[in-house]
């Protein structure tokens, strides 16, 4: 990377730190004015709760439980949503028939899918993961359908002339064209899924998971614990975003001018 690139990323880091520090300051000021440690704790109190939860092991147990659900739901939602989207993009007749279904599911409130999954599936891990995945599948399908419609006919003809066959066409022609759509669906998907997972856990948690802990803390009006779990979870999701998704997007785009 060039020196200007290093300077630019250094500058970005500086802005990030300044921005976060002012947020903490604002929080501190508002908390001091509110002057109610129970209902509006200061950053220091929340950090204290984080370290207590971490020391007892509760933090990691609950976060890992929730993360497993996030990963499972994300994987199935992306897989099934992509397959549906690609098929609808490829076959206009199927698209015309199923499009109203897609609109139906897109507008189905999350709370309805969640309730129904628990009623039909019981308070199980499968029901929880299904409930989360169902909330993401329609939007992943819509994004990938868009990508499939935009596939280049020119490149397909080229693949046909040079006798690529279906596997080579998929790998070298189709998937690279769909990659930006896939990356877009993945990023919005992760943001949506980790929020919905918490609602699902609060609703049908079986004693573990960040959502369930927040639900318990809500009953005890324990704002400090709620914020502690929220902070820890935001941190982990951001790590996934920076360490996994962004490098993946950069890799996929390295051929661009």
């Amino acid at each position: 990377m060039s020196s200007t690139g290093l300077n630019a990323s250094g500058e970005r880091l500086l802005w990030l730190i300044a921005s976060l520090l002012s947020f903490l300051l604002l929080w501190q000021v508002v908390a001091s004015i509110a002057n109610d440690v129970r209902r509006f704790p200061t950053p220091a109190v929340v950090m204290e709760t984080v370290s207590q939860l971490a020391a007892s092991g509760a933090l990691w147990t609950n976060i890992s439980t929730t993360l497993v659900r996030v990963i499972l739901a994300f994987f199935f939602a992306m897989l099934i949503g992509s397959i549906i989207g690609i098929l609808l993009g490829k076959f206009p007749k199927a698209d015309r028939f199923f499009d109203p279904w897609l609109v139906l599911f897109l507008n189905l409130p999350a709370i309805v899918t969640i309730t129904l999954c628990f009623i039909w599936g019981g308070l199980t891990q499968t029901a929880a993961v299904t409930a989360v995945a169902l909330n993401k599948i329609p939007s992943a399908a819509v994004t990938l359908r868009e990508g499939t419609r935009a596939l280049s006919r020119d490149l397909n003809e080229m693949a046909q002339i040079y006798k690529f066959g279906w596997w080579k066409t998929l790998r070298h022609v189709t998937i690279p064209q769909l990659a930006p759509y896939f990356a877009g669906a993945a990023r919005t998907g992760l943001a949506l899924i980790w929020k919905i997972v918490l609602v699902v856990e609060a609703f049908g948690g079986n004693g573990r998971g960040v959502g369930y802990q927040i639900f318990i803390a809500f009953q005890e009006f324990d704002v400090s614990t709620i914020l502690a779990y929220a902070l820890a979870f935001i941190l982990i999701v951001q790590i996934i975003e920076f360490a996994v998704l962004q490098p993946l997007v950069a890799r996929v785009n390295k051929w661009r001018r």
């Binding site: 020119d154 490149l155 003809e157 080229m158 002339i161 006798k163 690529f164 022609v173 051929w255 661009r256």
Partner: protein, 249 residues
Amino acid sequence: MAAVETVNGGQATPVRVRVKRKIFPAVGAREAQLVLSDVAFDVEPQSFVVLTGPSGCGKSTLLNIIAGLDADYEGEIDLGSGRDRMTYIFQSPRLLPWRTVYENIALALPDDDPRLKNIPDMLARVGLTDAANAYPERLSLGMQRRASLARGFILEPDILLMDEPFVSLDDPTAQSLRQLLIELCQRHPTTVIFVTHDRAEAVQLATRILRLAPGKASVVQDASVKLTTAERSDRSRVLAEQNRIFSAA
């Protein structure tokens, strides 16, 4: 012309083109349009046939039919002995932007094909050795066209279809690419069907010119080009031959 043998030692047979009718169906307010009607000709093995005419005369449509990309027509195409080794060089280079120049050429061949080892030689011949690991969009259009020629010729084709492969290039670049095409064809003799609206280019490259006219939707002139290889690089000879052929109509 002496009989040409195929790779397998059999007698090479011509490309037979018989297109009775090709219609563009009506779309919205636009009426259905007869594009090709009773187009019939044979292309002898290892001859260089140019299809020419103004834009909209159906020459690219005809080439797509011959290539098998457009199956919606009445008639019959028989590629003859070259049917298994046909390739098409498109007007836009149609390289995969997410694969390097080398990978684009290698992808034209089956995995483990013995011709893969010819790629470095081919890259040298088209002047792209240094660009082998570059992504196509970082190259000029002229270089992308060279890569596209390399991809076509790495297959050692028996039939080569080309659709205006040198348009929108500046004159010296187009001229150097024509020279490259002539060299590649000399090294690997092949039957060429080449579409262009550029009459000078047609005369410079072709052994035979078929002219299509938009109103007729058919071949209106079938002329042999009487130039030796040496005369083809002489601009005044090319111009004289161009006048002879195109004033006859």
